[in-house]
Symmetry: C3
Subunit: 160 residues, 3 copies
């Protein structure tokens, strides 16, 4: 097996929605479990998945965006039926009843199974979310060239 190259998955996570982030982490962890090398690139709203709890933003509009998008991964809302938090509550109840891990737990499982998490530098600048406001497990903040390089060489590519 020494000369057998590992299969690779490269994923852009653009969405910050609870349900899409769940799908992203479940696919990533599943791929890692099957022996693949997995890289996730979080961009735009997807950065929520990497943020700590603290408010972000420096300029007036950056702070405004920080308030609108406040909270860490546990505050992600579903893409449907968000209704000011009710949708999230319903989802969490329904998933809890089936013993499905929460989003934070899914992220931890992904990290523990070797999935690499990257933040998109340009979105971090635009949304004014500096690296210090992100969890320590983020490998690095990278540009689009890094994603292209990874994706070119991978067996599965997804945009979520």
């Amino acid at each position: 097996m020494a000369n057998k190259k590992k299969k690779k998955l490269a994923m852009v996570v653009f969405s910050g929605d609870l349900d899409k982030l769940m799908a992203a982490f479940i696919i990533a962890t599943g791929a890692a479990a099957s022996g693949m090398e997995v890289t996730m690139f979080f961009t735009f709203w997807g950065l929520r998945a990497l943020k700590k709890k603290n408010l972000t933003g420096k300029s007036f509009l950056g702070k405004l965006m920080g308030i609108m998008e406040r909270g860490d991964i546990s505050k992600a809302s579903p893409s449907k039926y968000s209704f000011g938090g009710i949708g999230r509550w319903i989802f969490e109840k329904m998933m809890g009843a089936k013993k499905i891990p929460t989003l934070s737990e899914l992220r931890r499982m992904a990290i523990e199974s070797g999935v690499k998490l990257y933040g998109c530098q340009m979105s971090m600048e635009v949304l004014e979310i500096p690296k210090e406001k992100m969890i320590g497990e983020v490998e690095d903040c990278v540009g689009v060239a890094f994603f292209i390089e990874q994706a070119q060489d991978s067996d599965i590519q997804l945009f979520i």
Copy 2:
């Protein structure tokens, strides 16, 4: 040609929106028509594309979700301009005027051209949609490992 492996397409269908489901079935049928082996994995809201008309759900929240998401594929709303059914009506009119098949017809065409449909087991459990409430053409209900296996080995992968 006997030893030539068929090209493959593996698709995750996460969305249950009329327009995205149309895109998914049109791409799937187009790929099958060009001789590809096509597998579609329906997860979360995408499960609507596999449901029968009947209400779903067992627990209180499951029933509530079943009511909010009631109806089969013909009740899918577009991702924009849904306005309580008006968007769907406009779309159906506009597509009908150009003799474009409805979503149910597109699904039938996909099945007839050999596209394989799979339901995501975990979403079916969370949303409380058992296999009996799905159309008979669903091949099987599978976990993420099955998708990874298919996608690893495929020439095109998409997340819709």
Copy 3:
């Protein structure tokens, strides 16, 4: 290098949202910059990225849709916080402050770096957007078979 085949990226752009179009053009330009051959297929709402300013639509519903979706690429709204144009204004301000090109500039950069833009024939018919109402840089209006052909043979495929 003469016999080395260029790597390829094939992208379906379904979304017409400001933020998703930005991601699409940035990925496309990044891929072209790294030497890849890039093809973008614009379908449904994504057609906004190819439209000129003029109103579209011929039938009553087509004209209604043309009014609802009026404007060229510069009128795209973000997928979140659109609020009748405020979201777009905030985004433009935040991106301008970081010297990030506008969507129209990103499109121009993509075209200049050799990215090929195609319109989906079927969506153009349904939404009643004829080729004359699109920018001259559009290569052609094609069917799904053309996308499948490109994607089969490409190293990266994305649905945005």
